[in-house]
């Protein structure tokens, strides 16, 4: 009885256990037909091994890199963005009402002066708009004090902490948008 295909292949691939391998070897020593099949498979293996490598016609490095696209942003940039948002909100909340209040006397001076140049209807309209804006500013200032109360330090001063937050947020913004998010492809 001849070796079946599975046994012969597994014998040649070195997968048979010691005893089946010994039996296969013994059979091959006495069976010309199985030896011929083995030789044929070994010849095929040798032919496959001799198949020469084909050279590339062009370098693949550039086309591959061009198709990679930017690498996803690292996870820590999410925290940077979050901190930027908190800092920017604190800064805007603190500064905007105060800036607006600082502007109020200027507007109160400019509007009556403008009355001498423009028609009464236009001035009256401007006054209405300003009155509405001033109301909004006052409510914002109140809300600002309320939101920033947790950040109050020492004798009730808020601005150092807000300024620090805003500065760090600004620096993170510059760093995040300038350096960390720079496309690595530009360096290739």
């Amino acid at each position: 009885m001849h070796l079946d295909d599975s046994s012969l292949n597994e014998y040649l691939d070195g997968r048979l256990e010691a005893e089946p391998a010994r039996q296969a070897r013994q059979h091959l020593s006495v069976c010309q037909e199985c030896r011929a099949r083995r030789d044929r498979l070994q010849s095929l293996t040798a032919s496959l091994a001799m198949l020469a490598e084909v050279p590339l016609r062009r370098d693949l490095v550039r086309p591959v890199l061009a198709r990679l696209g930017p690498k996803p942003a690292p996870a820590f940039l999410g925290w940077v963005t979050g901190f930027e948002a908190v800092g920017a909100t604190a800064l805007a909340t603190y500064l905007w009402p105060r800036l607006a209040e600082a502007v109020t006397p200027v507007v109160n001076t400019v509007v009556p002066a403008a009355a001498t140049l423009w028609s009464a209807t236009v001035v009256s309209g401007l006054e209405d708009v300003w009155a509405q804006l001033a109301l909004e500013i006052r409510s914002l200032a109140y809300a600002s004090d309320l939101w920033l109360r947790p950040l109050t330090i020492g004798s009730g001063t808020t601005w150092p902490l807000v300024l620090a937050l805003g500065t760090v947020a600004f620096l993170l913004g510059v760093l995040g948008n300038g350096v960390l998010l720079r496309s690595p492809l530009r360096r290739v």
């Binding site: 037909e33 011929a36 198949l51 016609r57 693949l60 591959v64 290739v188």
Partner: protein, 181 residues
């Protein structure tokens, strides 16, 4: 040219250094291309698939164990990609005579022809192209990438018995086709 070990290049790529991956591509492009060329049989298609293999490798670099060699891994990625591509094509049909399980013919090929290496390579490539996709894949993985049966089963996501039957039949078909020409 960067002489860093592959492992360092992999780590640097993971940190966002794309040029480190470029060096890996430069090192392995010929072997990856040849995987594709043996499986696809067409130069341009093999080049395109080699590029795709490197792209897939880049995207899956997070799952790659950097303690292992990069070359065999990227060549397996290429083999799988080629197999997927071949499976989308029209199926290769085998004649009933080719598919049955008779032992290999014992006739020897003409020795004069067998010794013309260039011609033999051509015939071998032609014979490989005539194999069904899975048969081509197991020949590639076993004979060119030196994978064990178990590794082939894992790479191709098929059972061990399928690997064996594909490999033995592929060899029989190749031997028969090479012997009959």
């Amino acid at each position: 040219m960067d002489s860093s070990p592959d492992r360092d290049l992999v780590e640097r790529t993971r940190r966002g250094e794309v040029d480190a991956y470029g060096e890996l591509v430069r090192r392995y492009q010929t072997s990856v291309f040849n995987v594709c060329y043996r499986m696809m049989g067409e130069h341009q298609e093999a080049e395109d698939l080699a590029q795709d293999a490197f792209l897939r490798g880049y995207r899956r670099l997070g799952t790659f164990d950097a303690q292992r060699p990069f070359g065999p891994w990227i060549r397996k990625v290429a083999a799988n990609l080629c197999l997927n591509s071949l499976q989308k094509r029209a199926p290769v049909r085998l004649t009933l005579d080719e598919e049955h399980d008779d032992p290999i013919d014992v006739e020897q090929p003409d020795p004069a022809v067998a010794h013309e290496r260039a011609d033999q390579s051509q015939r071998l490539r032609q014979a490989l192209q005539e194999l069904p996709p899975h048969y081509r894949a197991v020949i590639e993985l076993r004979h060119y990438q030196d994978l064990s049966y178990e590794e082939m089963a894992q790479t191709l996501r098929v059972s061990l018995s399928d690997v064996k039957s594909h490999l033995f039949r592929a060899r029989r078909l190749l031997a028969r086709r090479l012997g009959s020409r």
